[in-house]
Every structure is written in C-alpha cells, then in structure tokens.
Chain length 630, copies 2
C-alpha cells in the first residue's frame, strides 16, 4: 500500500456508500460537536461583556440566558421543519435558493461557508489556547499545535465521515457527561443551601461595578452570548449522511443536540448566578475561563476537574470537525449549481468531497498562520454568518409553506415566521453591536465571496453557451497533423515516442537544439539512422530539424519553433510530443522530466495554447507489472 | 502584463545575462551582508557564554576576539587563493569535490546548503525579534512579519541578482558607517580618558562572577563567537556573478568585506573591554543586545542611536539575502553533477535558478513556522555547516597545490594547510562545545542530506544506464495506435478533439459513460451523427463505445475501460485524448477540466502508466490572438 493509501485508507467504491452513513449516536458527534462545544464559549462571551457591570451585572445573566435558550428552541423547531421539507439536505443554501431565489441562496451559502471556516479556526485555537494555558511550556508551539490539530482533522475527514464519528464519540460523551454532572451537583448544592452554596475554591472577586447598566450593554451581552447557537444548522445540511429512516434519525439527532445544549446553557446560567461568578479579563494576568471557575467551585480541584477541563479542550478543538462535515457538502451543492468551481462537487477516493476538505484546511491554515494561532479576535465575527444563514433559511421556509400549503401549513408557517423575525432581529443586533470590533470585515468578506460566486456562475454560463453545438460537425480534415518531437539525445524514451509518432502517420518532425556548429556531424548521423529505421519499418522518414540556440538555452528556441510552426500551418493541428520517464516510485518521479515541464508550461502560459500536448510514457524498470488496482 | 509579470519583472533573454553582473560595491551588499551582519551576533554570542564569569570574564574578550579575527584572516587568505584557482565559482563544493573526491564534495555541499538555510531563518528572525522588542505591539505578528520578509526576499531574488544589489546597498552602507562611527568615537574617548571612558547611559551591571574561569568556558565562548565568520565563503561561490575582470573584482570584494568585518570585531572587543560591558541574559527581563549597550554608552540615546539600531535590524533580516544568492548557485552546481534533482540547474525567466530560490524559501518558511518565528535556539547550530565547509574547502586547496605545483605553490600550500588545520580544529571544537545544545541535530540532518544526495545520484546513474541506446532502432510499427476519446456531451471542445483524432488515422474509439439504459436512444443518434460526419470528411467512422456505470461514477468506469483496452492490445500503443477548455485568463482556467484531471491522475498513479495522454486544447473566446511573447 502506498503512503497515500496508508494515510487515507482504502479507496472506496461507490457501492460501499451505504456503509458510510451514520446513526443517531455518531450523528451527535459528527454534526453536534460544534453546537455543543459552543456551550464552552457562549456563556463566557456573554459574561465577558458584563464585566464592567461587576456583581450588579450578574442579575441579568439569567434573563439573557433564557432569551438565548428561547432563541435556540425557535431555531430548533424551525430546523425540524426544514429537515422534513428538505430531506435531501442543504439547509440554508437550498431552502433560501429554492424559495427566495438563487441570489438569496448564494448569500446564505456564502454566509454558511464563512461561518464554517471561522468555526474551524476559533475552535482549534481556543482549544489549543486553553491547552497551552494549562501547560505553559507549550506556549511557543501554539501555532504548530494548531496546525497539527488541523492536519489531523483534514486527514481524518479525507478518510470519510464514518471514521470521524467513531473517533470523536468519546470526547463528546465525556464533555457532555462532565458538564451535566457539574450542573446536577451544583443545582443540588444550590437547593440544599437555599440558593447560596459555598464554593470549594476561591472565586475571583468581581470588580465593583455601577448600580445601573445600560440596555446597550445588555444587548451586547446577548449578542455575544448568541455564539452559543452556532453549529445548530449542521444537521439539516447533512440529512443524507444518516442511516434510513434519514429524516427521523436526523430529527432525533437534532433533538438530542438541542436538548443537551439547552440544559447546559440554562444550568450554567443558574450556577453562575448562584455562585456569583463573573468573567475575568482574558487579556489580564489571573485569567481563568468561566467553565473552569464553575467546575472548581462546584467540584473542587480534584481529578474530576482535570477530566472536565481535558474534555472541554478536546471538544473545543474537535468542534472544528463539524465544519469539515458541513463545509464540503455545502460547497458541493453550490458547485453543482455552478456558483463554485466544479471541483467541489467531485467525490474523492473515500466518498468525501475531497476538494472542500482540502480547501477548508488550506484556508483555515492561512487564517491560523496569519493570527499566529491566537484567534480570540475572530470570535466576535463568526456568529454573523450563522445567524444570517438562520434568517435566510427560515424566511425561505415561510415562503415554502405559502407555496406548498397542506394541512397544518398555517401553523408551520407561523413557527418559521416567528423564527425568521427573531433570528433576523438578532442578526441585525449582532451586526450593529459588533460592527466596530470587526463585523465590517465579515461584511466585506461576505460581499467579496458573493461577487466571486456570481462571477463564477456567469463564467460557466458563458462558456456553456459558447461551446454548445447541435450536431457533430467535423471541421475539415485537410492534412495530417504536424507532430513535433523535441529530442536532446536518443534513449529508450525518445525512441518510444518516435515509434508512437510514426505509427500515427502524421508529419513527424524531430527537433534538436544545436548549441554550436560542432554538432553538424552528429546531425548527419542522426539523419542516416532515422532514414534506415524508417525504411526498415516501412513508414515515412521523419524530418530532422536543427533548432539553433546561440546561448545554452533549450526551451526558449524550441518554444519559438513551435510557435512558428503553428503560425505557418494554420489549417493543420500541431502537437508536441513529450517522452516522459515513469519512475517506479512517486518520489523518484520528482527527479525527472523537468525540461518537458518547462516547455509545457511555456506553451501553456506564454503561447497561443492551440498546440496539443502529447505525453508518451516510458517506464523505468522495477515498476514491473504492478498493475491497476482493478 | 500578467500578475506574474508585474511581480517578477520582464522575462530576460539569455543574451541579457551580461547586464546582471555585479561590481565591487554591489558585490559587497549581495555577497557580504551575511558576513557583515554576523558582527551583530558574533561578539554577543561570545559574551553571552561569558555571563557566568561576570566582570572577571571581560579580561578574556580581547584575546578571544583576537583569535577570531586571526581565524578570519586565515580564512580570508585561503579564500583569496580559492578565487584565483577556481574562478568558475563553487567554493567548498567544487574545491573539495575536485581535489578530495566526489564524496568530500557532497559533504561540503550539504554543509553549505544547511548553513545557507539556517542563515536565512536566523537572520530574518533575529531581525524581526529585535524589531518587535522595539515595538512590542507587533509581538503577536512575529511570525507573519518573518514570513513577510521571507516572501519579500524570495520575490526580489526571483527578479534577479542585480536588483537585490541595488536594493540592499543603502542598509549595508548605513550599518557599516554607523558602527564604524561608534567605534571611532568610542576609541577616541577611550584614548582621551586614558582607557576608562565615561558612559553616556547606565550600563547593566555585571553579575558578581568568580575570580577564576575554566578553559572550557573560554573555549565555548570562542566557539560561539565563531558565528561571526559565517558568510565569508559566499564570494568564492559567486565569482561568475562579477563583472570582468571577475577574479580581481571578487577578490577586491572579499577584501573589503573581511577588512570591515575585522575592524568591527576588533573595535567592538576594545570598546566592550574599555566600557566594561557584559552581555545580558536574552531570556530575562531587562535584556538589551550588546550592540545596543555599546552604541548608547558611546553615543547616548539620540537620533544616531535609533538610526544605528534600525540599520542593524535591517541588515540582520536582509543578511538572509546572501543565502538567496548562494544557495541556488550551489544547488545548481550539485544538480549539474546529478546529486540533486535536475530542476535546480534550470534557469528561470530572470536568469536565476528559480528552483533553488523557491526551495530555500519553502524550507525556511517551514523552519520559521515550526519555531513560530523565534529561532534563537538555531543560532548554536548554524556555525557548524559553515566551518565544515571552510575545512573541506581548504583541505581541498592543499591537495590542489600538491597536484598542480607551479611557482610559490609551496607558500600557497602552507597557507591553506594552516587554514585547514585551524578551521578543522575549530569545527571540532564548535561541535563538541555545542553537542548537547543541538549540534547533534546538525549532524543528523547533514547525514540524512548526504544519504539523500547519494541516493539521487545513484538513481540518475541507474536510469541513464537503463535508457541508454546505441542507435535509433524503431520498435515494430504494427498497427495504428488506439485513440480513446471520452465524451460526456458534444461541444466544440470534444468535436475538436475528435477532428484531431480522425486526422491521425489511428483507430478512434469514442467512450461515453452510460448511467442508465434510457441513454440508448441518444447513443443511436450519436452513432448516426458520427457516421455522417466521417463520411463527409472521408475518414473511417469512429467506433462509439458505451461504458456502463451502475452508480453515478464517471472516472472509475473510464479508467477500467482504458486498463482493459491496454491489456487487450499489447502490441499497440494506447492513447487517451482529453479535450481541454482553455480560458482567457489563468484564474478562469482553474474552473475547468476537473474530470480530465481526475482521470489523468488515476491513469498516472493507479494505472500501469503505459498509456499516452493527449491534451487537445480548445480556446474560449476573449483570448483572441494574444500570441506568444516572441
């Protein structure tokens, strides 16, 4: 098995597709890690905004969390209906596109893509950031660690979705269990101590805040807390990845995810309030994450604390995985509609959209390198994409029910309408609240992406119109093509290429670059050999052309000759034949055929690109009869 | 002009080569920045080792510096002789290879390559490290800044050597002038104050050291200080880049560089001793570089101080440029001898060894990312490569004089012999002194590189022997080749490819993947159309083959068909024709021909690689008659 083979797993035939589907438990890991992981930064984000309000701000955390959970439930009911109505998956992109027009679909799709990308970066870097806080010796390797996790995710996802499910099940389970235990124990203590439980560890003191806070601060806190909802749409994008009955399994998965997330958000809000925990400034010394404070307050700093922190770290960095399940699928669908390069719609050897996985990996790596693996500044940006997608999706569903009608459609419509308005208002709120801290960047990137997608679509349509034919009308076949074979010296590879050319019975011209006139004798000998060989085989003698080069350049003069030949033969096709050494091993392959590559590149980028390029392989030994993997 | 064009400058013809040569002033910048820049870290490295000895260690800095300057002069005379004896350039690699055998050459070449690579990393990151110490707000962008400088160097060097000379002349001049002024003023003050000049700024107090130091500490200090000599060999590698008279200009350039460097090293040692300056620990708060302490002690913290620091920073990061002049040349020569992929010996559009520049950039980027842009740990490693090269070069020169003889050869021989022994002992010393702090890594990397180079050479020799032929003996041309043309739908591109195939008079088979039997009717129509078209043009009717696919896979069934056809026709060549859409703009090109790419990749990696691949371009409009850049 090759290196690729070992790394990426056996190639899968399309017939094996059924085995790659996931059930509810794996579905929760594959499509839910992102949503569940946001419990680790959503409440923290809301509390961080409330820091200036000090202890006084704490009284607002319960209503704010309730609003967020309420919004979560609205989104939940809305997406349940989406899964029923659009079992082929696609979420916001499909729903908006089908109901509100292609342009709305493109906007929703772009928003989703951006959201997925930012989720990868923020997930990985938050996770690694927490890890290096725990083990400061690793600080200098922050970026390397981030890129390592990213590489792991890329490779795992190139292996196919099912393996990811199995791999991620343990951390998800451990994360959910730990947090639920913290919440249960904490609630029990709160009840038994009449709402004021003692902390097992000292809690960082809140700053002395004012006795009044502005509505604006509360709204900003709510807007930041809404990051807790990101990732909820993932299930509806991947309905087709579920085992039969697909709809039912997808809805169950969504229910499990949302139920747990709501429990976590509500439970954490109650504990934060009961234990009087305020956030600490991430930029200052003595920073501790809210989850760390809550866990140590309720359970103490024992083994359980470290298990909890470890699973939080793992889930945070692995929540990026949800994007690797969603991004390639969305890109694939968008590419099917010609709004992205068709490459995104091709499935690779393990039945995943290889292009999407690789592109997501490269883009995320770029963002991570750009920010040195520290992406706390990106957190404010990335809720916008998600909420924009929510809004478009639900607005689309409203239109869907108006169009299709049917029993209960009025009820369904009103659920989606409420959801659309709520998420729309939230989107606007998030956008306004975060405009100066970076939401404008989101807007700029979104607009560029939308323009790019429309440009791609336009190009594909133009091309389709241009190359369209009604019937197979041959152009006139006047003369045999001109076959040009550059030869530096005769060896088995060039002789094979010559044989191929002669068998085609085109007009064969052997080109040899002559650096100084001393070669004249050699040329005469070549001419004789060519004549003899051709006569023996009963084919026309190939012409031998000396291409002059005053300096030691090789590709330049050949390139010029090809251009001239093409110009002088406007009615004939011209092809250049490249003998190509095929090595036994791929790493040996890297040692050969450079001049050919150079000339090909020049013909392609510098020429008129009307010349056919023919690669004629000649195998080096040791390849033997390895054969195809038939 | 294309994006590439704007970035990399006009393509240069080989005839313009002469204009790219450098004179002495540009030579000092291009080949000397590295050597001169080491004045900024050599003395510092020696003094850092002496920190534990406190003020007592200072009395040894003068003898240590004198030894280093002495070694520098030995190396200088030795390299002067090398330039005379080997005006074609190549330095250690050529000299060792010609005189001590190919294996010695390979070791010297590998040592040089490693030294060049580490010099890029250390130069850039030391420079940026100093910059971010000056402007702490930039700290979080350390890596991005390093990669930015690296990208700048790569692009500048792809534009050709001459431009680099002009670009770097200002910082080099400013660096040398500032330091010489500091030294002159400092010496004047020292003399006028009878050896104990007052400092204009408080000097960090030395630690209270012991009254006795070990020889071992002094030797380690000397070994660290030897980093000041790195880069001296660059001139002898690039003699061919100088204007005529090449030898004379190269030697003059070397003299200027060494003279300035010796002045700087000696002057700094005297000032450090006179002002009683010890190094500060780079890991601790309050760190300040030795050059910064010296400059502020002599000149105060005025505008001159900041100009000096700025030029040090620039020279440090730009000293990496010396490697970009040297590394590609050395790689090119090694590749000419088949010890590295031939790609390294190809000149690009601006007459530089594009491959070497790009590879150096990629490797340096990898090291920088791996260390997050902070490479202080690399400093101990990178003198070893340079000194190993020095030693091999001079040992080679000894052998050279023994072989050639001639007048004064005895004198020349003894100069080189002394140099060889001195640098050989120093190499051993540096290696032993730094073994635990990382010299073993240097050794491991060197050994791997040497093994790799020998492996490459072995492969090239095997291949040459295998493909060698004595005469052009055609294999029998039995039957016309089998030309396979996969067609999904008929459009101008596929019709063009069909026309090309029919003009070749091979056996043409049109392959169409049929997913369900409903296509049967279409196939009949295609068959009729093909027949009519062929009859009109007077060629044989192409066969139409339906390739069955049970699922929606396209490339899989085509791949299988090609393998089968190849197997069933062992005596014929088989070619697959790929219609290729050629877009007007390169970025549009990225949108097309994916399925073709996929099938090509499968034929290459998964097949027996005996099938010729024919690319038949079809140009989309707007390309017009852009033409070649003839």
């Amino acid at each position: 098995m090759s290196v690729f083979g070992r790394l990426l797993g056996r190639r899968l035939a399309t017939t094996e597709e059924a085995k790659e589907l996931v059930g509810v438990p794996d579905g929760v890991s594959v499509f839910g890690l992102d949503a569940l992981g946001s419990a680790a930064y959503g409440p923290e984000a809301a509390l961080t905004v409330l820091i200036p309000a000090g202890i006084f701000g704490l009284r607002f955390i319960l209503p704010i969390s309730l609003m967020i959970v309420g919004l979560l439930l609205l989104v939940y009911f809305s997406y349940r209906q989406t899964i029923d109505a659009y079992p082929s998956g696609g979420g916001a992109y499909v729903v908006a596109g089908e109901n509100l027009g292609k342009n709305a679909g493109v906007v929703a799709g772009a928003a989703l893509m951006l959201d997925y990308l930012l989720n990868v970066c923020v997930g990985i870097s938050t996770g690694i950031g927490a890890l290096v806080s725990a083990i400061p010796r690793l600080q200098r390797f922050t970026l390397v660690l981030c890129l390592g996790v990213l590489a792991l995710l890329v490779v795992t996802n190139l292996r196919g979705v099912r393996e990811s499910g199995v791999l991620w099940r343990v951390p998800t389970f451990s994360f959910v269990m730990c947090l639920l235990i913290v919440i249960a124990v904490g609630l029990a203590k709160t009840l038994s101590h009449h709402g004021a439980p003692p902390s097992l560890q000292p809690i960082p003191p809140p700053i002395a805040g004012p006795a009044v806070v502005s509505i604006w601060l509360l709204l900003r806190s709510f807007a930041s807390g809404c990051t807790a909802l990101t990732g909820v749409e993932a299930v509806s994008n991947g309905v087709q990845s579920f085992e039969e009955p697909k709809k039912k399994n997808a809805k169950r998965t969504l229910s499990v995810i949302v139920f747990i997330l709501a429990l976590l958000l509500a439970g954490l809000a109650i504990l934060v309030h009961a234990y009087k925990i305020t956030a600490t400034d991430p930029g200052r010394a003595g920073y501790q994450s809210v989850l760390s404070i809550v866990t140590s307050a309720v359970m103490g700093r024992g083994i359980f604390y470290y298990v909890t922190i470890a699973s939080i770290l793992m889930v945070l960095s692995l929540s990026a995985n949800t994007s690797f399940a969603g991004f390639p699928r969305v890109c694939g669908m968008i590419a099917d509609d010609s709004y992205l390069p068709k490459a995104f719609s091709l499935r690779g050897r393990r039945l995943v959209y290889t292009g999407g996985v690789v592109v997501l990996g490269v883009l995320a790596a770029g963002v991570l390198v750009m920010f040195g693996g520290v992406t706390d500044r990106l957190i404010p940006l990335f809720a916008i994409g998600a909420f924009l997608a929510f809004t478009f999706s639900q607005a689309g569903m409203v239109q869907h029910w108006r169009r299709t009608g049917g029993p209960h459609s009025r009820l369904y419509l009103s659920i989606n309408a409420v959801g659309a308005v709520a998420t729309g208002v939230t989107t606007l709120l998030v956008f306004v609240a975060k405009f100066t801290s970076g939401a404008w960047i989101t807007l700029a990137v979104l607009l560029s992406l939308i323009l790019l997608m429309r440009g791609i679509h336009h190009h594909y349509e133009e091309v389709a119109a241009e190359i369209q034919v009604d019937t197979i009308a041959f152009e006139q076949v006047d003369e045999p093509p001109l076959l040009l074979l550059p030869v530096a010296r005769w060896n088995r590879a060039s002789v094979t290429a010559l044989t191929f050319a002669c068998a085609l019975r085109g007009n064969v011209r052997v080109l040899h670059v002559q650096c100084d006139s001393g070669d004249e004798e050699d040329m005469e000998q070549w001419r004789r050999m060519l004549k003899q060989a051709a006569e023996r085989s009963g084919v026309a003698t190939p012409e031998l052309i000396a291409v002059r080069s005053d300096y030691r350049a090789i590709t330049g003069p050949l390139f010029q000759y090809v251009l001239r030949a093409e110009h002088e033969n406007p009615r004939r096709s011209v092809a250049v034949l490249f003998p190509e050494l095929v090595a036994a091993r791929w790493y040996q392959q890297a040692l050969h055929n450079y001049r050919a590559m150079l000339l090909k590149a020049r013909l392609f980028f510098g020429g008129r690109r009307r010349v056919a390029i023919v690669n004629i392989p000649w195998q080096l030994s040791k390849l033997g009869d390895r054969g195809g993997e038939a």
